[in-house]
Subunit: 205 residues, 2 copies
DNA sequence: GAATTAAATTGATATAAATCAAAAAATATA
DNA sequence: TATATTTTTTGATTTATATCAATTTAATTC
């Protein structure tokens, strides 16, 4: 889809979000040299998608990992025709269908925007080349995935033996920034491993 | 504790497991130069512990990450005075109390050997120095934690909406090597997020 | 090898959460 | 604004699993 046209006037909507925010994010882990910065500029595809857009669909290979600059995205799969939301990502967070992305094979997940979303996509190949050329970037990669690993560890404990109420409170505590934004609530319910009705009752009391 | 003495004869029990197995393991991810190999030899503390030994206890900081050469280890925590086993590690697998180890702060986990266990321990500091001096080792670190991240992702899905039977079947499928070794079964039950009685009934039918 | 202890199984009951169904509230559309 | 649609809440019932208790089996220890 090209730029919108009104009579003979083309409206080219410039992407305000160059990659300053992403650079700043990476810079909280490692120093970012100007060369690395330039490399990142060249490999990041910056795009804005409307609500409801699919970044990845089942039976396809997830080609990119995405850094969310603005907006909200979820990753989900179908179990018995019901959507189970695995996770969400908002500002300054990353999302990809990790198995498909890392192994470069198709999988069964959907990645979908829940709001108008501004993001930077990086392909596996570009990322790996960047890792090779910039060891500090590989370091960032290790630190980032470690941070997500810790987050997952806590979620496993939350799912292992906590009640529905405790799991909701865990989300309240750890994902404040998403609490008001994840709608409809069925998405949140499935993420927390409970039905929509149970979530409603938990929230009511 | 020094070598055992019997009269005037000192028995120095040599550690057969130098670190060949660990090197081979790392080599499945990255090429291991002889310099890196020497560095690894110098930073790995190789030890053998009897069954029941604690590698890490609550209220202390987990100082090492451990590569298991032989044996079986679990990590667990207490919830309402009951032991909840978070995970197991056997041959060629790694274990640490990840949050405590990476953040260098105390936590509430126990790491305990379930069999006589031969392992290599590496301190955070030595590991970080090694990452700095050998970018390929940092690469290994990234790849390893990525692999564990994938494993965790699957476990989350297993816990999110699967029945007790499905969770047990998941363990059967993904942890064959531990199925006969994790005893008593209460440890396995808690790992799978169910009671011992439920596990017994699942296995019976 | 008998006695003791620990672990696993089996049974009966309780409970948290799922399911099914309907009503109410919120949102979108004409 | 009224109507239609979607989402959320509430209610009644069912179900999987937890809990409590007892028994059987297996593993230690004397």
């Amino acid at each position: 889809m090209g730029p919108a046209t009104f009579g003979s006037i083309k409206l080219v909507v410039k992407n305000i979000f160059e990659i300053e925010n992403l650079i700043h994010h990476i810079n909280t882990f490692i120093p970012v040299s100007s060369e690395l910065k330039n490399r990142l500029k060249s490999i990041c595809k910056i795009e804005t998608f409307p609500k409801g857009h699919f970044l990845h669909k089942p039976e396809s290979t997830c080609l990119n990992t995405y850094f969310i600059n603005k907006g909200l995205v979820r990753i989900y799969y179908l179990k018995d025709d019901k959507e189970i939301t695995d996770n969400f990502a908002a500002e300054n967070e990353w999302i990809t269908s990790i198995y498909s992305f890392l192994k470069n094979i198709p999988d069964h997940f959907h990645i979908q925007t829940l709001e108008t979303t501004e993001l930077a996509g990086i392909s596996l190949n570009d990322l790996e080349e960047c890792f090779k050329d910039y060891p500090e970037m590989e370091r960032f990669g290790r630190m980032l995935i470690s941070a997500y690993f810790l987050e997952q560890s806590e979620r496993i404990i939350s799912l292992q033996f906590n009640s529905a109420r405790e799991r909701y409170q865990f989300f309240e505590r750890t994902s404040k920034n998403k609490l008001q934004r994840v709608l409809p609530l069925g998405m949140l319910a499935s993420h927390l491993g409970m039905t929509q009705e149970t979530l409603s009752r938990v929230r009511a009391s």
